[in-house]
Subunit: 468 residues, 2 copies
Amino acid sequence: MTTVTRQRRTAPAALIQDLKLLLGERLSTAAAVREQHGRDESAFDVPAPDAVVFCETAEEVTRVVTCAAAHRVPVIAFGAGSSLEGHVLATEGGITLDLARMNRILKISQEDMTATVQAGVTREELNRALRAMGLFFPIDPGANATLGGMAATRASGTNAVRYGTMRENVLGLTAVLPDGRVLRTGTRARKSSAGYDLTRLFVGSEGTLGIVTELTVRLYPLPEAVSAAICHMPSVDAAVRTTIQIVQMGIPIARCELLDERAVRAVNKHERMQLREQPMLLMEFHGSDTGVREQAELVQQIAQENGGQDFEWADTPEERTRLWTARHHAYFAGLQTRPGCRCIVTDVCVPISRLADAIGEAIADVEASGVPYYVVGHVGDGNFHMCYLIDGADARERAVVERLATQLAQRAITLEGTCTGEHGIGLHKQDLLIEEAGATGVSLMQAIKAALDPSNIMNPGKIFQLAP
Amino acid sequence: MTTVTRQRRTAPAALIQDLKLLLGERLSTAAAVREQHGRDESAFDVPAPDAVVFCETAEEVTRVVTCAAAHRVPVIAFGAGSSLEGHVLATEGGITLDLARMNRILKISQEDMTATVQAGVTREELNRALRAMGLFFPIDPGANATLGGMAATRASGTNAVRYGTMRENVLGLTAVLPDGRVLRTGTRARKSSAGYDLTRLFVGSEGTLGIVTELTVRLYPLPEAVSAAICHMPSVDAAVRTTIQIVQMGIPIARCELLDERAVRAVNKHERMQLREQPMLLMEFHGSDTGVREQAELVQQIAQENGGQDFEWADTPEERTRLWTARHHAYFAGLQTRPGCRCIVTDVCVPISRLADAIGEAIADVEASGVPYYVVGHVGDGNFHMCYLIDGADARERAVVERLATQLAQRAITLEGTCTGEHGIGLHKQDLLIEEAGATGVSLMQAIKAALDPSNIMNPGKIFQLAP
């Protein structure tokens, strides 16, 4: 939550000059632009880059990287700025490379259900282009993130329980390497055994190995039938038990989201809705008409056995959009419950059998602390977020929440889970990564980084520290 | 197809002595044992290792690797010996480490649907242990391979169209690194964004980065209903068109296998079956009773539109086992159609829209050559095998088939697919890997290998060559 600044490697005037020649007005050293690009949605203070460049082609990315490499100056990829763990902060200075203008959809194959896009395309842009074709791209982290950014953090979100994460859905990618070479990984085939899985190495590498400029992703047919329902539950525990049973029965539920009563209350206020203010499961079913009905009946039965109310259905696209928008606005709704607060969003994922324990203990801890909070989660995956609403100026609260978040992550690791289900390591969870992956695991990551980026110019200081 | 031998790094007497002290009778230098371990199901001649060790514990693996590393002698992991591209051949000499005795199932979590097993557990052993729990492990490459070997080659097989490959289904693993350190990757959570994806790096690394000693894999609930059907098609092309339409409609078919009329004829003879001798789709549907019925009806309709016959159903487990056994015995059935022949099994995977082209051209080529062949394929994934039946002693036939196989793989790459869907690179496809992944891609793989295994002792000379 505090500023993390390391040894700066400031871009020299000669580099700025070279980039200016290359990009003209698309290089900015204005304070406002730099600050905007030194910030994400985390609670870190802003170390701004020395300059921001707005690339429009892969060739420009290559030129920028080559120039920066010649000066051993850091290069930080920037998409929508919606990451949460300080991934885009320029802690060592350098050039931020904004990819938002690289937003062309290069190819959609309806027959193969694949799309090849530039890294700056957002998930909403892609889905708009797909709608008329009867296809969709399922990964939905909430924010309208860019696909490049989503690959970088191995994002997932509400649909992952059925469709997987970026790990499963990126078929291949193009990246500019630290030495300016262009790497192309993967193919458009569904599977391959051709050598090391470089695609999966880059997915989740948080910009530390190269700049992803293009991705090919899997698409899915829009289901014949979609049905969303909310079910009010007597307790968070009952909601979690319901989820566990749904997953264990192998019901192919498409989305299974938990909102605790605090999140529901905030959403009601923010979205002017009248949801019953108790823990709620928000679910979506995809399939054929009969398949959807069958899934929903089974789930309703399970929910009722755990004390759930009848389903309230949202069958029209408008109603569904309203519900999911409400879910995605939970963050902003939460912020409004404590004017002027900052929201510290945690992110752990545990084996489904440990989910009730993990959430229960996290709630007990935060209740004891007195800090306002709410809970949301992609519980079908065992993934949830404790969201702490703190006074950012109150050092004591910041310290309390830091302790709570660390306890939560450590408990997840103890429960054979992970300290981050979908947000990534960034700046914030580097010590936790060592606890989770072990010194040996992190040393392998460092060895790979050193082999591929010996000058450590690609988003340095993220995921782990290298010896200077 | 010829012997590939490189600079040998023969195990010195001192190393053999050390290993003998450690393992006693579980070290063998007998020619028969060494030869058996210098062979897989490929058509390469046998370069045998200098010794074979049979480890029973992870600690023994660590000791063996440490001893070998001290002498810079190669270590080659060996599971069931069912790989097809020369993965286990001791082309540089060294010690083969047989993991078959490490066959303990360490933990099954019914609640989380995960299993943690030693690397020598075979998929059939695991499924036997799971049956009474109502769970199964879906990856089925045909051979009763070990899970360690399946991870090493990123195996898949008949169920991958629905359940994914080893890439999607290994949650984490334990490996002994070249320097003897023990690496643990992943967790039992479904997803994670914690740093580089070391699990996916080891899956498909063909034993070149370390010795996998344990794996945690995902399990699935046994479906409420399972139904298998065969459908006779007027041509391979019609069968492929049917498959493409099934996939594009998003029907969650669990298995979708093609056998051409030659494969059917061979299977009839070998298994004493009376299948109609024309191209055939062998399919399986998993789901609820109504779900399975619905899927099957849709598929039947699609097949009929493409000239397919009515389905012949196999609803009892016994009938299904008989059909799938027949499918898995296609290889041996094929061998018997030309007494004394060797079967050269190729393995390419293309985007589904290119499948008809890829198979059609491959058939045209082999027909022109006059070499006997048959075709089988996991066509739901765009993955198929041209199986050439050659006289191994006939240099001309070997050369012809080598050319056919290379053409096939190059065509797959041109069609935006891969030169190997599931068998791996091994010794045989290293030039093709360069065509597919590019010099840059392969150089990254080599850089990773050099960083993690600087003495190049882990299954050296597989996937790619390193400068000596």
